[in-house]
Assembly symmetry: C2
Homo-oligomer: 217 residues x 2
DNA sequence: GTTGCGATGTAAACATTGATTACATACGCA
DNA sequence: TGCGTATGTAATCAATGTTTACATCGCAAC
């Protein structure tokens, strides 16, 4: 059978202008990260998958780093969304429960989406400082955590002798550490009957239970 | 001034055989990681710094990954040494104190030597599974942590209702998370008056104090 | 409609990189 | 002394990031 025009994999007619190259490049890049890891992304490969010439990506991204940063921004949007959803899911207004929900939402998302989490947490492949979106969303989550713990402290739900700043630091480090351990394959030696995501959840639960005071209700 | 022979930067006569190329390449690679990050190491650059042709490194390392893995092995040796020293430094035989000393030694080393820690914790640039040395030393530290907590439990120094496996996981995640946060620049927003290494120490101290029971002595 | 301009693509080129191959040299042991 | 093998060089290859000159399309103004 003959075709009047060339076509790409999806069967669309191959036009000179792609129409949605930015999105296509980001999608292709995510695919490559899934297959080979973020360190082994190549712009040319992404261009090829988008059905476009090697130079085309540079019309939209100043550099390879800029492309990867765009991927990170998309990923951060999804993380923020997942964290928000985890918070709204628990009806409770209890600040401790809300705080833990952030951690659980973060953890679940990071473990379920290792590809996206990998690109977010990398600071050598992307230009974190140059992206307002990345910095602001990161800061927003951090501030929300501090707010919730401040509320908890005011309600007498934290041990009075506890150092507030270092508790926040420990909580963030615990969640971040669990997520990165999952990503870096540190769970390979874990009990096979308990999935990593569940183990991480329980470690966080343990931490919260020892650091906080149960509500009187 | 005239020289009878060519010489390298250090002034040694340039011989056809380098004499200690393996070490020189590892050293050069560490330098490059310090300057540009582990992702941007190039074998050719390492060869140039060692005063040798671009193909020479491949006589000693099958691939770029193998070179980076060798760097990781050297780094892991030093980490093991630092952890051992931190343990011997505290005279106490108290298992809880020994456990915390491991964490503090690990943390201090990782924060003081970000370059070496970076290459150890990367799992996409090196071939962790292929290196007996890396796997064994990693496993040794992990086993030592479990041993110490087991002893602590037997001496009644852990809360009886605590889940042992998840405590070990949380402890490891906390230390690993703190180390990676320092490496990834997450401490930039921290109080300038308290250095990151100290803040991390205190977060770990807080964790330990809430998870364990004070000795009667 | 036609025109024309800016946005978006292509093709070709360049320097750099990881890796291989054929050849050169020198160390150390018989 | 002589020779084999470990270790180096030089040349080469394909892949990559990025730039430049040119081609094509989309769309607003006339």
């Amino acid at each position: 059978m003959t075709k009047s025009t060339d076509s790409d994999e999806a069967g669309h007619a191959k036009r000179y202008h792609h129409g949605n190259l930015v999105e296509a490049l980001i999608t292709a890049t995510v695919e490559i990260i899934e297959e080979r890891g973020a360190e082994h992304v190549s712009v040319r490969e992404a261009a090829k998958r988008a059905g476009v010439s090697p130079g085309a990506p540079f019309r939209h991204f100043r550099s390879k780093t800029a492309l990867l940063t765009a991927v990170a921004e998309q990923a951060m949007d999804r993380l923020t969304e997942a964290v928000a959803k985890a918070q709204s899911k628990i009806g409770s207004a209890d600040p401790i429960e809300a705080f833990e929900a952030i951690g659980q939402g973060y953890l679940e998302w990071a473990i379920t989406n290792p590809t996206h989490f990998q690109i977010i947490s990398s600071r050598t492949l992307i230009d974190f400082e140059a992206s307002d979106s990345l910095r602001h969303q990161n800061e927003a989550i951090r501030r929300r955590m501090i707010d919730l713990l401040t509320q908890a402290q005011q309600h007498g739900r934290l041990a009075p002798d506890i150092d507030f700043d270092h508790l926040v630091l420990a909580a963030r480090a615990l969640v971040y550490g669990l997520a990165r351990m999952a990503l870096d394959g540190h769970f390979r030696e874990w009990h096979p009957s308990e999935p990593p995501a569940l183990a991480a959840q329980r470690a966080l639960r343990l931490f919260m239970s020892r650091m906080t005071i149960l509500s009187k209700a």
